[in-house]
């Protein structure tokens, strides 16, 4: 272990370049001859394209090319796809409408790309983009998913009658209905999960470069998973075969899910680079990001939760309508199904669950995974319902939860998941203690005297991370396997490179992954380098999302390290004339246990490469690879408590304290884990109190800049009280569960439970902006 190994608070190796301005993001890349692109986008939410006239634009100063969807189609570039097949309960496949990277016949949301303009400067490209004349015939638009299902609603895709993509179910309807019928008490709620815009601080960008001499493409892109981008662009979009396409995701300024997907822009920039004969760079401005980055959430649900006379949950019935926007984004279908409804058991023993989910097209930006992806929606629904039930039943919210906790593991829920380990009571206790829950009544009374309304709320969340066993997700419709790869190269002088298919865009992999290696071999952390984000360097990988880089990515590294260790020990045993089984690795040396005989790590490595004296039959070199496929999801869980205070005169709500008690399994670097929780909480509190993407009825996005979309700022938030109490995950070699999404999953219901407590109201629709809180306080 040591100072730099597993469990140590090692400061980050990657920080040096970021704090000195030496980070390298896509917009920092310059290729000789590079030109700048601006996309012409639809100003209408729904319209037919009658004509696109590019003549005037082509003649503008500095313009290299103006290209449209017709040319793209003619060159055989494919439509964008959704890579996870969901079948409706009647057995029919989901209805995937055509999504051309450049629309040529119809536009379906404001921001739909219709042409690309390439010029010497971005200013000139923008000048010319304004000169592209697109004649539209406007059509009626629909932005609300529930309304889109109604008779007579505008229809988006001929493939999808009534805009319905699929009507899917999970669980046992009969048993659930029976439980509700027989219940002593049923809590019923309507729950809205507000639409969000991910807002990574680095806007999306792509630089496509076609090399004529090599007949080869390179794409620098803001991606969380460059290998998936290469695979999809090769196999489905016909950009180029995989061996002719290199995808590089250099430093990426945050993702939160929004940079998983393959968007039209990178496909078009690559294609246009060959067509126009120049490298083409596109960088989104912020409003473009608001309009076209995949949004998150946007669910409308009804829920019924049945209790027996002992306040035990006997059944849960959920009906959800999920808005997927104008087109099916890459993993959009999985989010409101297998990442959502499979978590509806929460931390509770619920014998019968049934969920029905309908997904719908609307004239809005595509909706896909955003930090938590499905799990925040499930947690919000469940934890708001538990809170309401506690109030209706007249019992303490903590005790209602505790008395329904799952305490025996493994636990098979009625909705696929099999929880492997956890101690939910421990997190609840830790959170209540940290929040001084017992002292709340006094604090509330004191606040009341000062004219403020104080409330407290909790949320006990569970999530499924470490996605995911390939065979399992394959059987559920996934188009890919969700293993991860690692390659460990020990150089001739003993330094080590780890090539990983995970991608770091803020998670600190260059540090935590190196800690793993340093701890294992006792070598200095500075002698370990992590290589990622380049398909020419790393053979294959599935990328970073779903809190999978620790549980899956690092497990792959462990497996490769196992192989390296085995070979290193063989070499050492040979050099030391000892038995392989007696070799131990300590402090950077391979030793014969119980003796002072040893060979330093670097000498062993040198021996592997000089190959002058290797065991007979052994190949030279020291490099091992592994593809690790998890055996189960992992199940991080925890309890969050929010205490807040409302100024009833203005509706301004201040978070007084926010407590997080998580169970993440084993932890590699507590500093980085805490940072992940802080960031997640800020996004969850943002969803609850500040953020919301609003379209008007005609489909114009009203929140398309930071003037109108409320981003959490430093003075909106307190410092957080975070702690962990960990039960190791039995499913992977490191016992890791994952920590990237918990904060965003657990926090929204804690905030709204506290707010409704403060206001003494039954429900509240997020976000709790001052005007909405004030209005709610008036009605009360």
């Amino acid at each position: 272990m040591g100072m730099e190994g597993i469990g140590a608070r090692v400061t980050r190796k990657e920080d040096k370049r970021f704090i000195t301005g030496a980070g390298r993001y896509v917009d920092d890349m310059v290729v000789p001859g590079m030109k700048h692109a601006v996309f012409v986008r639809s100003p209408h939410a729904h319209a037919q394209i009658k004509k696109i006239d590019v003549k005037q634009a082509q003649a503008m100063p500095g313009v290299v090319a103006v290209l449209t969807g017709k040319e793209l189609k003619a060159d055989g570039i494919g439509n964008l796809i959704c890579g996870w097949m969901i079948h409706s309960k009647d057995g029919s496949p989901m209805k995937m409408g055509a999504w051309s990277p450049l629309a040529f016949d119809r536009v379906r949301y404001v921001g739909d790309a219709v042409a690309i303009v390439i010029a010497d400067t971005k200013g000139e490209a923008r000048d010319a983009a304004e000169a592209v004349e697109v004649t539209y015939k406007e059509l009626k638009a629909v932005v609300d998913a529930v309304k889109a299902l109604e008779k007579g609603a505008p229809q988006l895709h001929p493939e999808a009658d009534n805009n319905l993509i699929f009507d899917w179910e999970i669980g046992d309807a009969k048993a659930t209905d029976a439980a509700i019928k027989a219940a002593h008490h049923v809590t019923r709620m309507k729950i809205v999960n507000n639409r969000l815009v991910p807002n990574a601080m680095e806007p999306r960008a792509a630089l496509g470069h076609y090399d004529r001499g090599e007949d080869h493409y390179t794409c620098w892109t803001t991606s969380q998973n460059p290998h998936v981008a290469r695979l999809v662009m090769s196999a489905f979009y016909n950009v180029a075969p995989e061996n002719k396409l290199r995808v590089i995701a250099p430093d990426v300024g945050g993702g939160f899910g929004s940079k998983i997907f393959i968007y039209p822009e990178e496909v078009v920039c690559l294609w246009a680079s060959k067509k126009a004969g120049v490298p083409v760079k596109w960088v989104a401005d912020r409003t473009e990001s608001f309009l076209t980055d995949a949004h998150g959430r946007d669910h409308h649900s009804t829920v019924e939760m049945a209790f027996d006379k002992n306040n035990r949950i006997t059944g849960l019935k959920v009906d959800t309508v999920a808005n997927l926007g104008a087109y099916m984004s890459l993993f959009s279908s999985s989010v409101p199904t297998y990442l959502y409804a499979t978590l509806l058991s929460g931390q509770y023993n619920i014998p019968a669950i049934h969920a029905n989910v309908r997904t719908v097209y609307t004239n809005t930006a595509p909706v896909d995974a955003y930090r938590g992806a499905g799990r925040p929606e499930a947690t919000y629904l469940l934890e708001r319902t538990m809170e309401t039930a506690a109030r209706e039943l007249g019992v303490s919210p903590a005790e209602l939860r505790r008395s329904n906790f799952i305490t025996q593991f493994p636990h098979q829920t009625p909705v696929i998941m099999c929880y492997d380990a956890g101690d939910y009571g421990a997190s609840l206790d830790a959170a209540m203690k940290a929040a001084d829950y017992a002292g709340f009544a006094k604090r509330r009374d004191k606040a009341r005297k000062a004219g403020k309304l104080r409330g407290i709320g909790m949320s006990c969340y569970i999530e499924a991370c470490g996605i995911a066993p390939s065979a399992a997700v394959g059987s559920l419709g996934a188009g890919v396997g969700l293993w991860e790869s690692a390659e460990v190269r020990v150089n001739a002088v003993g330094t080590i490179e780890v090539l990983t298919g995970s991608h770091s865009h803020g998670q600190g992999h260059e540090t935590t992954f190196a800690q793993l290696v340093a701890g294992r071999f006792g070598v200095p952390i500075d002698s370990v380098s992590i290589v990622h984000g380049d398909t020419d360097k790393v053979q294959m990988g599935m990328g970073t999302y779903g809190s999978r880089s620790g549980a899956v990515g690092m497990s792959a590294i462990v497996k490769a390290l196992d192989k390296v260790e085995a070979k290193a020990k063989k070499i050492a045993a040979h050099l030391l004339e000892a038995d392989e089984g007696d070799i131990v690795i300590e402090n950077g040396a391979l030793k014969v246990a119980g003796t002072d005989k040893n060979v330093p790590w670097f000498q062993m490595a040198l021996a592997a490469y000089t190959a002058h004296n290797l065991p007979s039959g052994m190949e030279a070199g020291l490099k091992e690879t592994s593809f690790y496929d998890p055996t189960n999801f992992t199940f991080p869980a925890g309890c969050y408590i929010c205490e807040l205070e409302v100024d009833p005169e203005t509706g301004l709500t201040e978070i007084i304290q926010f407590v997080a008690a998580d169970d993440f399994g084993n932890i590699i670097n507590p500093m980085i884990v805490e940072g992940q929780v802080h960031g997640g909480i800020a996004q969850g509190v943002g969803q609850a109190m500040l953020e919301g993407a609003f379209y008007d009825a005609s489909g114009q996005l009203l929140t398309a800049s930071y003037m109108d979309y409320t981003m959490p700022r430093a003075d909106d938030l307190p410092s957080f009280k975070v702690s962990t109490s960990n039960t190791p995950c039995p499913g992977n070699p490191l016992g890791i569960k994952g920590c990237g999404e918990a904060g965003a999953i657990g926090s929204p219901p804690a905030v709204i439970n506290a707010l409704t407590d403060a206001l003494g109201i039954a429900d509240f629709t997020m976000p709790a902006s001052p005007s909405r809180v004030w209005a709610a306080a008036q009605k009360h």
């Binding site: 400061t11 301005g21 990426v252 430093a714």
Partner: protein, 166 residues
């Protein structure tokens, strides 16, 4: 086109630029100083903050021509050779960054903030003063911690008789 002359990170620079060239684009594209970032269109995110004549300003909302004659310091120019600026060091020490995109602007705003508050900073002041810098990764928790720590370290270092902080 305008002929401009200014000092960037201690170096005298002359250039001819389109009048519509923003300072941030001048720094990034003409000077190759890509540490200064653009994160929004409405001068709110603060990823582009640099120092102009000693004060923090948003380089996305100024023309390069406007600062002809001025002295500019960017994130690339605040370290003393290989020695990190105390604010840079504090951001690393306290994990005040994750993806790194907002970090240059945060650090430039923080150094300005500390300079304007020689009396010292408290958490509430730091949070209010960070109004013009948006971070999506850290929840600000460790950024606030880093700035408070840097402020303390710098005030200790500036007291002549005090021993240099380890």
């Amino acid at each position: 086109m305008s002929d401009i002359s200014l000092t960037v990170n201690g170096r005298q620079v002359r250039a001819t630029v389109e009048d519509r060239t923003l300072l941030v684009h001048f720094l990034r594209e003409h000077q190759g100083l890509t540490g200064t970032h653009v994160g929004c269109d409405t001068s709110q995110c603060g990823a582009c903050v640099v120092h102009v004549d000693g004060k923090a300003m948003k380089s996305c909302s100024m023309l390069a021509a406007q600062v002809s004659g001025s002295t500019i310091v960017t994130i690339e120019g605040i370290a003393n050779g290989a020695d990190l600026h105390p604010v840079q060091a504090a951001f690393k020490e306290h994990h005040g960054l994750q993806c790194g995109f907002c970090t240059p602007g945060m650090i430039m705003s923080a150094t300005d903030m500390i300079a304007r508050h020689p009396e010292g900073l408290d958490e509430a002041t730091v949070r209010v003063e960070l109004e013009g810098n948006i971070c999506r990764c850290t929840g600000y928790h460790n950024i606030v911690k880093a700035i408070l720590a840097a402020s303390q370290a710098m005030s200790k270092a500036s007291k002549p008789k005090a021993k240099k902080a380890a």
